[in-house]
């Protein structure tokens, strides 16, 4: 298979990029793919913490780029899923330590070994974002269902298009159906209407994500988790499968759907 290099980014910070990279990476690896997750948020690394690999870091991305170590010395194998590897960011350096051209070259080398290279990007329009984008074939934009996050996502989509990375795909994270029902949160149709890009998936608000991340675990440990199901479906869609969304067009069937899945899983 031809390997894919995908950057996961957002306009606003804190919308769940790192969490999404960790879980989609894990889901793809569980499907048998060889996956590298790259932390391009240099100076603010945390993909290692979410994966529970922080204490195994010896070398990092900047070391590889500067030639201090070989690529395979810096790659850390995940402790649970054998096919998943992390290339950590440098914590003590700034984003100026890396040039877009160097990121391109790095992604190119990673392609030789991996089916998927998922790049965790810093938010926003700074240099770090351009680095993260440089080596990618395509982009996934993460947003929460808040007006300001969607507005900033829109801005980033424009930049991704201008950088000729094609039209990015959208993930809506932390959707809370109760809030949508009360009209306190944008629903997925509003968001897709505004951003007019394809929807790759919707991840519900799930307190289990915070708990799992703090322990360096993934939500896949819990079979009942609906967010785990959302991540699995996203991974299958990335693989090219045509999987229905967890929601349907109108609110009613959306709720019906989620309920059905919940009861199936419990039962």
């Amino acid at each position: 298979m031809l390997s894919k290099v995908i950057v996961i980014t957002s306009g606003k910070g804190g919308v769940g990029k790192t969490t999404t990279v960790a879980h989609i990476g894990t889901a793809l690896a569980l499907m048998g793919r060889k996956v590298a997750v790259v932390d391009a948020d240099i100076g603010l690394r945390n993909l290692d913490i979410i994966l529970g690999l922080e204490n195994r870091i010896v070398y990092d991305l900047v070391n590889v780029i500067e030639g201090t170590c070989k690529l395979n010395q810096a790659l850390i194998r995940d402790k649970r899923v054998g096919n998943l590897y992390l290339l950590p960011a440098a914590q003590t350096r700034t984003k100026e330590a890396v040039e877009p051209e160097q990121m391109k070259a790095l992604c190119h080398s990673l392609r030789e070994t991996f089916d998927y290279v998922l790049i965790d990007s810093p938010a926003g329009i700074e240099g770090g974002f351009r680095n993260a984008l440089a080596g990618a074939d395509s982009a996934i934009i993460v947003t929460t269902p808040h007006v300001s996050a969607v507005r900033d996502a829109d801005r980033i989509i424009g930049l991704v298009e201008a950088a000729e990375k094609g039209i990015p795909k959208l993930i809506i994270n932390r959707l809370d159906i109760e809030m949508v029902k009360k009209g306190e949160m944008l629903d997925q149709d509003d968001i897709v209407d505004i951003l007019s890009i394809g929807l790759l998936g919707i991840i519900p608000e799930d307190p289990a994500i915070v708990t799992a991340s703090n322990r360096g675990e993934s939500v896949f440990n819990n079979d009942k988790s609906k967010s785990a199901e959302a991540y699995r479906r996203i991974a299958r869609r990335i693989e090219g499968e045509d999987v229905p969304l967890l929601d349907l067009d109108d609110n009613h069937s959306f709720l019906g759907r989620l309920k059905r899945i919940l009861t199936t899983n419990i039962g």
Partner: protein, 249 residues
């Protein structure tokens, strides 16, 4: 929206003008210039621009740096520099850049009045034969742009502007004539930017954050109800911007 930028792009009947702030530090100017050009993506590839430096003093190296950024990195063509500063003038002469005198556009700039249409890294737009222009006064050229305008993106037209796509919140359209949007307007639209009070703004879904026509400004009421009464048109009536259903009359 954004902070006041030290760089502004204006569509004028004589072509695109890059207006440079007279006071802000040079570093800010360069940073804003790069940002503006990058944000505009490839809107302006191949466009002729005049640099309006006002009374700003630029030495040869600085002027060269500005010109390089605009021309080499972003594919625009500088047809002249407008300045009242002697220092800048001699820098321009040393670099062999045409000096444009107040209100007299560069001789070859007047032949072209259109801003380049947006292209996605396609080669620069072909030259318009000089015989096509100038367009008679009162009759504005019409430009058709097929794309979605996203937050942070701006587009200026020296004539009427037709957009086939949405204009999202945080995006800005400015036209000397009418603005017609075959899509949703959620951002800002400014029609009649050079004072044309009979200019209008029409959109299939008119939900703007702000509308401007000539010297009038109207804000959205704030509560963004995406009610959809169909195509609507905004124009000036009794000195105020009013919105009406399109096709009622």
């Amino acid at each position: 929206m954004t902070d006041k930028m030290s760089i502004a792009f204006r569509g004028t009947p004589a072509g695109l003008v890059v207006v440079v702030d007279e006071e802000k530090p040079f570093k800010t100017i360069m940073a804003d210039l790069v940002r503006k050009l990058e944000d505009s993506g490839y809107f302006f590839v191949g466009a002729d621009v005049t640099l309006d430096l006002g009374s700003r003093d630029l030495d040869r190296t600085e002027l060269n740096q500005v010109a390089e950024t605009i021309q080499n990195k972003h594919g625009l063509v500088i047809t002249g520099v407008k300045t009242t500063s002697e220092r800048t003038k001699s820098a321009a002469q040393a670099l062999d850049v045409n000096i444009v005198h107040e209100d007299h556009p560069a001789p070859n700039a007047s032949a072209k009045t259109e801003i380049a249409p947006p292209t996605h890294a396609t080669p620069p737009v072909p030259e318009y034969p000089p015989t096509l222009s100038p367009i008679p006064p009162g009759e504005l050229p019409t430009e058709i742009v097929r794309r979605t305008f996203r937050s942070g993106q701006q587009y200026e037209s020296a004539g009427n502007l037709v957009v086939l796509g949405d204009v999202n919140a945080g995006a800005e359209l400015i036209a000397a004539g009418d603005i017609i949007i075959f899509g949703a307007l959620r951002g800002m639209a400014f029609a009649g930017s050079t004072g044309k009070t009979d200019a209008m703004i029409l959109a299939l879904k008119l939900n703007p954050t702000q509308l401007r026509i000539a010297d009038r400004v109207a804000r959205s009421a704030g509560d963004v109800v995406e009610n959809n009464p169909g195509p609507e048109v905004a124009f000036i009536e009794n000195d105020q911007i009013v919105i009406d259903v399109w096709g009622k009359h």
